[in-house]
C-alpha cells in the first residue's frame, strides 16, 4: 500500500478526459469512458457456496496476465457450506492490483461485490467512504435481510449514503441470459458469480479469453454448464457496456516498471512451496517423499505434489499426523528427500518424531502452514504463533533450524533453502509458512533452472574409521568437522550396516551410551551443529542511514511491514527495516544490527514470540506490536503503531 488511488472511484467525479476505445480483434474493450487508476482493491463476497474464491482466482489470473502487480487475500470460513445467507457463511476474496509494485492485499476495498445481505453486512465496516458497492438486489428479500438482523433494506433506507451503490439484479440477469440454455433454474443461478466476474472484467478492462478458456476446461465434461458459465460471463461484460448505471470503466496500466525483466506467472504460497520441493528434489537428485495427513491450510501441498508422480514424487496420505512424519523419516533413512506437511495441531502430534529425527540426524523437512490456534483454533485464518513450538516444542534439548518465507512467491526459494540446510546438516528443518501466504498469490518471476542452488549430497560409501587392530569400520556418528553433520549411509550400501535409534548414542560409534559425559557432549554437539549452520547476514533497509528505529519482522508480515515503512518514510519519518528468513539460527550479524538502533519494533501475528527470542538472546528491549485476528496486519495501523513508538520520548533521543 504505497500510494493513494489517483482518483476516488466514485460515480460522478468525471473530471478526466473521455477515452473511447474501439473493439479491436478478439479482445473486447469497453467503449465507454475510461479512467486511469494506479491501483484498485476489490473484494468479492458471498455465501461460501457462491463461488467467490473461484471468482477471485479468475479475476486474479486475468489481472496477472495483464501484467499488474497484485496481492490477494482469500478469507473463508472453516465450514464447507455454512447455513446459506448467514454472517458465519460469508466467504470473501480480496485482490489488490496496481501499475506499480505493491506489497499487501490492501487495507480497505475500493469496490465490494456483495452477493447477498450477509456479504454486505459482514464487509461494510471495512469500506472507506466513497467505495463502490455492487449488490445482487435479487437476494435482498425480507427473509434474507431478517437473517442478518435488517428490518429494512439498507439499499432503500439511505444508510449507504457514504458509498456509491450499484444495485444490480444479478440473479435475474443471469437467469435471463441463460433462459435458452436448457438448464434447470438452480443450475443456471449458480452461474451468477460468472456474471459478476464478467461485469468486473468489463469495469477494469481485464483480458477475458483466458477465463473463457478456463471455464471450457473446468467444465469439459459438462458442456452445457461450460456454455452457461461462458454465456453468463459474457452477459456480465455486456451488461457493464450497456447499462447506464456504470458510466465509466477503469484502466490500471501494467506494472512494467515494478518488475525486473523476465517471464512471470501468478503463484500462491502453497503452489510455490510445492514447486520448491520438487525443484529441491531435482537439484538434490534425490526422490521426493511426502508423508502427510490432510489439514487446513496445508492440504493443497499434498494435492499438488500428488499430481506430479512423473517427477518421481511419492505422496503418502497417512493414517494420522504421526504416521505421516514417521513414513517421511523412514524414507529419509532410505535416502529420499523427505517432507511432511501440516499445520499447528499436526506439529504438536509430530513432536516426538521430530525429536527422533534430531537424534537420528537425518534430513527431514517439516512444513508448518500456520493457522490460528491454540487447539483447532481458526483453521482457515492466518497466524504466526507456532514459532516457539517450532523452536522448543520437543522433549529434551532438541534444536531444529527454522526458515520462514516472506511472501507467497518466496515460498519457492524458502523451500529450497530449507532443503539445503536439511541435506547439508542432516537435520530436521522447520519451514514456517502461514495461511495468508498459503492461499494468497502474487506475481512470480519464473527462475531459470541454472539459477537454482546445487543441492547434491554424497552418501557414505565406505568405512570411515580404523580400529586399533587395523580393521576398517563404519562409525555412523563420526562427524564432518566443518558442518558437524554425520554421514548419511543408506541401506543397500555394503559394509556400512549400522543401527541408529532414539537412545543416546556414543559419540562416533553410535552405540547405545548412558555415559554422563558422553550425553553432555552429544547434547552440546547437536546444539553446536544447528548453531553453526551457515545463514546469510540480515540486510537492513535504512535509506537515509539516520533512522533510530528498526522494524524487524519475520515470515508473512513482510508485505504489511514494508508497506507501513514506506508510508512512514513518505510522511518524512526515518525508519529502518529488516526481515528475518532464518529464525534458527539467527543471522550472525543480527545482534549488531539490533544494537545499532535505539528502538526495535517487532510486529507479529502472535503475542510476541520473536520479540521473546530476541530479548532472551540479545538482551535488547525489543518492542512487540501484535495482532491475532486471523488476518494480516493493515499497513495503516502498523504505520501508526510504529510511528507512535518512534515518537515516544523523541526529545530524549534527539
Amino acid at each position: 500500500m504505497t500510494s493513494q488511488v489517483s482518483s476516488p472511484i466514485t460515480a460522478g467525479t468525471a473530471d478526466e478526459p473521455h477515452v473511447v476505445v474501439d473493439v479491436l480483434g478478439e479482445q473486447r474493450k469497453p467503449a465507454k469512458e475510461t479512467r486511469q487508476l494506479d491501483r484498485v482493491i476489490i473484494r468479492f463476497a458471498g455465501d461460501s457456496g457462491d463461488g467467490m474464491q473461484l471468482t477471485g482466482d479468475r479475476f486474479t489470473s486475468e489481472t496477472a496476465s495483464f501484467g499488474n502487480d497484485l496481492s490477494t487475500l482469500p478469507n473463508f470460513p472453516a465450514e464447507i457450506r455454512a447455513p446459506a445467507g448467514t454472517l458465519p457463511g460469508v466467504s470473501s476474496f480480496q485482490l489488490h492490483f496496481a501499475d506499480h509494485d505493491i506489497l499487501t492485499p490492501g487495507d480497505a476495498p475500493n469496490v465490494l461485490v456483495a452477493m447477498n445481505p450477509a456479504a454486505l453486512k459482514a464487509n461494510l465496516g471495512d469500506l472507506p467512504r466513497g467505495a463502490e458497492i455492487i449488490v445482487d438486489t435479487d437476494e435482498f428479500t425480507k427473509r434474507a435481510m431478517a437473517k442478518v438482523g435488517w428490518a429494512a433494506s439498507p439499499l432503500e433506507d439511505g444508510s449507504l449514503g457514504a458509498f456509491a451503490v450499484h444495485p444490480v439484479p444479478l440473479t435475474t440477469l443471469t437467469l435471463e441470459a441463460l433462459k435458452d440454455s436448457g438448464l434447470a433454474r438452480k443450475d443456471a443461478e449458480r452461474a451468477k458469480n460468472m456474471f459478476a466476474l464478467g461485469l468486473l472484467s468489463w469495469m477494469y478492462h481485464r483480458p477475458t479469453e483466458n477465463t473463457e478458456a478456463f471455464l471450457l476446461r473446468k467444465f469439459a465434461k459438462k458442456p452445457d454448464i461450460a456454455a452457461a458459465n461462458v454465456a453468463a460471463f459474457r452477459a456480465g461484460w455486456n451488461f457493464g457496456e450497456t447499462t447506464e448505471d456504470f458510466a465509466v470503466s477503469y484502466e490500471v496500466a501494467p506494472a512494467s516498471a515494478a518488475f525486473p525483466k523476465g517471464t512471470y506467472r501468478n503463484i500462491s504460497g502453497n503452489l510455490a512451496l510445492s514447486y520448491g520441493l520438487i525443484a529441491a528434489s531435482k537439484q538434490a537428485q534425490l526422490p521426493l517423499f511426502l508423508g502427510s495427513y490432510p489439514i487446513t491450510p496445508a492440504s493443497d501441498i499434498l494435492h499438488e505434489l500428488s499430481r506430479h508422480k512423473n517427477f518421481g514424487v511419492r505422496t503418502f496420505q497417512a493414517e494420522d499426523e504421526i504416521a505421516a512424519i514417521g513414513a517421511a523419516l523412514g524414507a529419509s533413512f532410505g535416502g529420499a528427500l523427505a517432507v511432511t506437511t501440516t499445520s499447528g495441531p499436526g506439529v504438536a502430534l509430530k513432536s516426538e518424531t521430530i525429536g527422533l529425527a534430531v537424534s537420528l540426524e537425518l534430513p527431514l523437512l517439516v512444513v508448518d502452514i500456520q493457522r490460528g490456534g491454540p487447539s483447532t483454533g481458526l483453521p482457515t485464518k492466518t497466524e504466526q504463533a507456532d514459532l516457539l513450538q517450532a523452536m522448543y516444542g520437543r522433549n529434551g534439548e532438541a534444536p531444529v533450524p527454522v526458515v520462514a518465507p516472506a511472501t507467497a512467491a518466496d515460498c519457492f526459494t524458502a523451500a529450497l533453502e530449507a532443503a539445503r540446510i536439511a541435506l547439508t546438516y542432516r537435520t530436521p528443518v522447520f519451514l514456517l509458512s502461514d495461511g495468508y501466504l498459503a492461499n494468497g498469490s502474487e506475481p512470480w518471476r519464473i527462475p531459470q533452472l541454472d539459477e537454482l542452488p546445487d543441492l547434491r549430497v554424497e552418501f557414505a560409501s565406505g568405512p570411515n574409521h580404523t580400529d586399533a587392530d587395523g580393521t576398517e569400520t563404519f562409525w555412523p556418528y563420526l562427524r564432518d568437522p566443518q558442518t558437524l553433520a554425520r554421514p548419511w549411509a543408506v541401506p543397500g550400501t555394503p559394509g556400512l550396516e549400522h543401527r541408529i535409534g532414539g537412545i543416546e548414542k556414543q559419540d562416533g560409534t553410535g552405540n547405545i551410551s548412558y555415559d554422563p559425559a558422553n550425553h553432555d557432549l552429544m547434547v552440546r554437539t547437536r546444539q553446536a551443529k544447528v548453531d553453526g549452520i551457515a545463514v546469510p547476514d540480515i540486510e537492513v533497509d535504512d535509506p537515509s542511514g539516520t533512522a533510530r528505529t528498526l522494524v524487524l519482522g519475520w515470515g508473512s508480515t513482510y508485505g504489511p511491514i514494508t508497506a507501513a515503512v514506506r508510508r512512514i518514510r513518505r510522511e518524512g519519518g526515518q525508519v529502518a527495516q529488516a526481515h528475518l528468513r532464518h529464525l534458527n539460527p539467527f543471522p550472525g550479524n543480527l545482534g549488531q544490527v539490533l544494537k545499532a538502533y535505539d528502538r526495535v519494533v517487532v510486529p507479529e501475528m502472535n503475542l510476541g514470540q520473536l520479540a521473546h527470542l530476541l530479548r532472551a538472546k540479545y538482551l535488547v528491549d525489543a518492542r512487540s506490536f501484535t495482532q491475532v485476528t486471523g488476518l494480516p496486519f493493515k499497513a495503516e495501523q502498523l504505520a501508526a503503531a510504529v510511528t507512535a513508538i518512534m515518537e515516544e520520548n523523541a526529545d530524549v533521543d534527539v
Binding site: Y275, A279, F289, A318, G326, G495
Partner: protein, 355 residues
Amino acid sequence: MSTSEALSLVPKAAGKQTMKDFKSDQEVRWCPGCGDYAVLAAVQSFMPELGLARENVVFVSGIGCSSRFPYYMNTYGMHSIHGRAPAIATGLATSRRDLSVWVVTGDGDALSIGGNHLIHALRRNVNLKILLFNNRIYGLTKGQYSPTSETGKITKSTPMGSLEAPFNPVSLAIGAEASFVARTIDSDRKHLQSVLRAAADHPGTALVEIYQNCNIFNDGAFEALKDSATAQEAVIRLEHGEPIRFGAPAEDGLGSKGVVRDPATGELSVADVAEVGTDRVLVHDAHTPNPAAAFALSRLADPDTLHHTPIGVLRNVARPVYDTDMADQLDRAVSLHGEGDLAGLLSGTDTWTVP
C-alpha cells in the same frame, strides 16, 4: 507366492551366509532366560536361508524389550519411538523396494500406543514383515498389564485385577484386512522358522504373532502350550490343505481331536474325530479369500487356559501390494506425461513477459 515374487527386487548375497553374518557386535542386554533370545537366535539362523544381501535387510522397531532387537542384527536397523515402527517402515519400504524390511514390536508397542499404525499397515498391505512379540505384559516399564493381558490380571497398575478385555492379535489383524497372519511360539524354533519362511515369501504385510515368555514379569504365560503334558491337547498346528487335527494320535496317526464347523452357524468347535468321523474335520485353507474360517480359528482358544490355540499360518492370501502399486503409478505417470520437466512445471500455462 514365492520368494522370488516377494523379494524379487532385493539383491542376493554374493556368497553363502551363516548365522554369524547376522550377529552384530553388540552385547545382548535382555534378562537372562528371556524368550527374546530364542527368537533372536531363530531369526539370525533363518536369515541365511533367504540369501539376501545383508545390506539390503533392515530391521525397524519401536520401544519395549523386543524393540532392542535391531541392535543385535548385523543389518541396517532403526530403534525408533514407541508404536511408530510400522509407519517408519512403511515410508522406507515404499520408497526402497530393493530392501527387505522387518518390523519388530511387542504387544504394548503394536497394540496399545501403535495400534493405529499396525492396522493401517495391514490394511495397505505394504511389503513389511511384522514380528509381534506377545508376552502379555509390559516388561520394560516393569510389569504393568498390556492390551493382551487377561482380564483380572494382577499387576503393579492393577492390584485388584485388570478390568480390561484383551485383544486377540490374530483376530485383530484379520479384522484389519491382513493378507498374512500367523502365530508361533518362541521356544519352538522349527515352527517359528517355518512361519518366518512363509512370511518372507508373502508379498505384502505379514503379521507374525510370537508368543514370548517374559520370565521376570509374566513367567509361564504360555506354559500350557509348552509343557509336554498339556501341549498335545492345547496346541493346534495348522497346515494349509491338511485336516485340522491334534491331540493324542488316533489310529490313522493323526490327532484324535479335530476342528469341526457347525453347518448352521459356521462356528468352529473341537470334537473327537472318532465320534464325528474324519470327513467332518475342517481342512485348513489359508488361501481362501473369505476370512471367516481364519477368524473363527483365531477365536477357538480358551482365553484363560489357552487350550486349543491354533499356531501356524492362519491366513495367507494374495492382495495388491501398496508399494508395488505406488511404483506402478509413478511409472504410469511417466508414460502418460513423460519424465517430469521442471522448467515446464515452473512456467505453467499463464505467463507474461516483462522485456
